[in-house]
Symmetry: C2
DNA sequence: AGTATAAACCAAAACGTTTTGGATGTCAAC
DNA sequence: GTTGACATCCAAAACGTTTTGGTTTATACT
């Protein structure tokens, strides 16, 4: 069916070894032979059998990405962008990307185990880290290469890239407080996610600079979807003493809050101020355009991927820990409280 | 390092053949031996080397998915949901999913070529089909298995799943026309995409039932992002004789149009009616909730994947062509024109 | 002439499976 | 006691590479 090295070898009357070495650019092949082999290989339409190479080389040139899908309808623009960042970088560096989608839990861990045991990937990218992250503990315990996007409660033993959520929320807090808001509410990500408490802490720290605190009743925990933003935002706005500003911990929830506000006849950016986090492309064209914190997700995907591949190829062995300073993007979803 | 069949064979004093056959459940192994082998394999923590198996079996148990990323910031909730549908089904059926992200063009085609030549995948899922689809022509010319999500101008030679965009837009047209709108505008997908003209034709057919036609000046072509919906929606609304209803060909663009309308002080669902297409989860929680056409993207992902795997395993050889009847989801972004 | 060096090549082993085509032994039937 | 059927097992080949550890030949140096 398809052309093997053996076929080329027979055609040019050389050994398999010589053909292989010529193809791989070794210099113990005479220039003429090399030329001939390359030409013949091309003519015959040779291309190597990947699995044979991988079996022999004992590496898969593949990186694994297991996306945690929280709901059955996993609809998140954030992840498609991250995926593109990872995928393009992997392709540039000659690696395959093996993607799996699993909801958090035992099945997810089994998937990691299976991919490692079958030697199908050389390393993993772990996304959306949890405070106590079983995936990371497992990978650490097996000594398997990975790079995380996000930190954990105990993250000095592995490489990661993360945005500085504390700092980002501090910027938000300072901005909102600077706008003279005092009744400030917040919709947090699920508690078990690592960035949840960092963002809360940053928000509180920023407010503290203005001698403000976050009232208990103004804190809600969402699941990062627009739906939950809508529901929790609605609850907050229906409070007898309703907040004048609502800080959502991602853009999607912020959009939900905006809908809830508009539902109640409130004008966003007038009657109530709302902020997001992530700066997904949509947030520039919402109504009103959303004030948020920019996170260069595409680039982060590329960085994480490159760090992992470097680590696999053993160009790097020390830990790399990158913390990105996010930037506040001021648009029109907030105004000063009078 | 890791346990091989050979190691088990030595331990139980049987041949490699017998161990392999026991592990694979053949019945020419005595029950006691089989028991022993299975137990020993477990004890020793054996798991097969995937690449050795694939090399021998001459199949990759992997399906390829090359996502066409239009913009550098590829941010589309639709695709993450599709990916989850495909990924979960693939995992259920014991297949790996190899994902690549490439913008349409020569690089994209090379990626298909490379994956086929390296025998890295057993088949492809082709998404977001174009009228004249080079990817499909290429796969057809090489006789390589694939299933498409979407049709093309010439689609009687391959298997696909598609929603009936013609029918869906007809539903929209009938609904809008039934609401007594006459000045109806439309924002189409990029012309080269296969569903573009189908949706336009369906819209026109639906309107024709009410003796309405689409004015030339009311037709725009977007790129399916919220941004383009915002810009083109703005253009339409700034027309001297502005439309009273705007039909966007996907939800994301509809959101953009909604923002443009609100920007101009118009109340969506009052002063102007707007519809979408896809029914992504977000559309239920926009303001106002979006009237749209439902497309079961997650399920479609699963179907396409299953069809492909069946085809690869040769359980099916005849073409399978599935056309899904979509459903109109009426929410609050439209009202009757008075 | 003899010796070292370098250039060009190659046979065979290795990677870890599955499959082919038997071999061996036991038992029942004639 | 031969025959056939059956159960159990296995050596060796195959999948398509890369690598190891050479050999051979020509050239340069003493």
């Amino acid at each position: 069916m398809s052309v093997r090295i053996k076929d080329i070898a027979e055609r040019v009357n050389r050994s398999i070894t010589t053909v292989s070495r010529a193809l791989n650019g070794y210099d113990d092949v005479s220039p003429e032979t090399k030329q001939l082999i390359l030409k013949t290989a091309k003519e015959m339409g040779y291309s190597p059998n990947t699995f044979a190479q991988r079996l022999q080389k004992q590496q898969s040139d593949t990186i694994g990405l297991i996306l945690p899908t929280f709901s059955p309808r996993f609809s998140d623009p954030y992840f498609s962008e991250l995926l593109a960042g990872i995928g393009n970088k992997a392709a540039d560096l000659g690696f395959d990307l093996l993607v799996s989608t699993r909801s958090p839990g035992p099945e997810e861990n089994e998937t990691y185990e299976k991919l490692i045991d079958g030697r199908r990937v050389d390393g993993f990218i772990v996304v959306r880290t949890r405070k106590q992250d079983q995936r990371i503990n497992y990978l650490l315990s097996r000594g398997f290469p990975f790079v995380a996007f996000g930190r954990t409660d105990d993250c000095d033993r592995f490489s990661y890239v993360d945005e500085d959520g504390y700092f980002g929320m501090q910027l938000i807090a300072e901005y909102i407080a600077g706008l003279k808001h005092e009744k400030i509410a917040c919709i947090l990500p699920p508690q078990d996610l690592a960035f949840s408490e960092k963002r809360l802490a940053g928000l509180q720290a920023g407010l503290a600079e203005f001698d403000l605190t976050l009232r208990e009743e103004y804190i809600r925990e969402g699941d990062l979807t627009q739906k939950s933003g809508y529901q929790l935002g609605g609850e907050l706005l229906d409070l007898p003493d309703r907040p004048t500003a609502i800080v959502a911990c991602n853009d999607l929830m912020a959009f939900g809050v905006m809908s809830a506000a508009q539902d109640r006849g409130l004008v966003v950016g007038e009657d109530v101020s709302i902020t997001g986090f992530d700066d997904i492309p949509m947030s520039e064209y919402s109504y009103p355009p959303l004030t948020t914190v920019h996170q260069p997700v595409y680039q982060i995907g590329g960085m994480v991927c490159e760090m992992l591949i470097r680590q696999i190829c053993e160009e790097i062995q020390d830990l790399q820990q990158v913390l990105l300073k996010p930037e506040l993007i001021i648009r029109q979803s907030c105004r000063s409280y009078t």
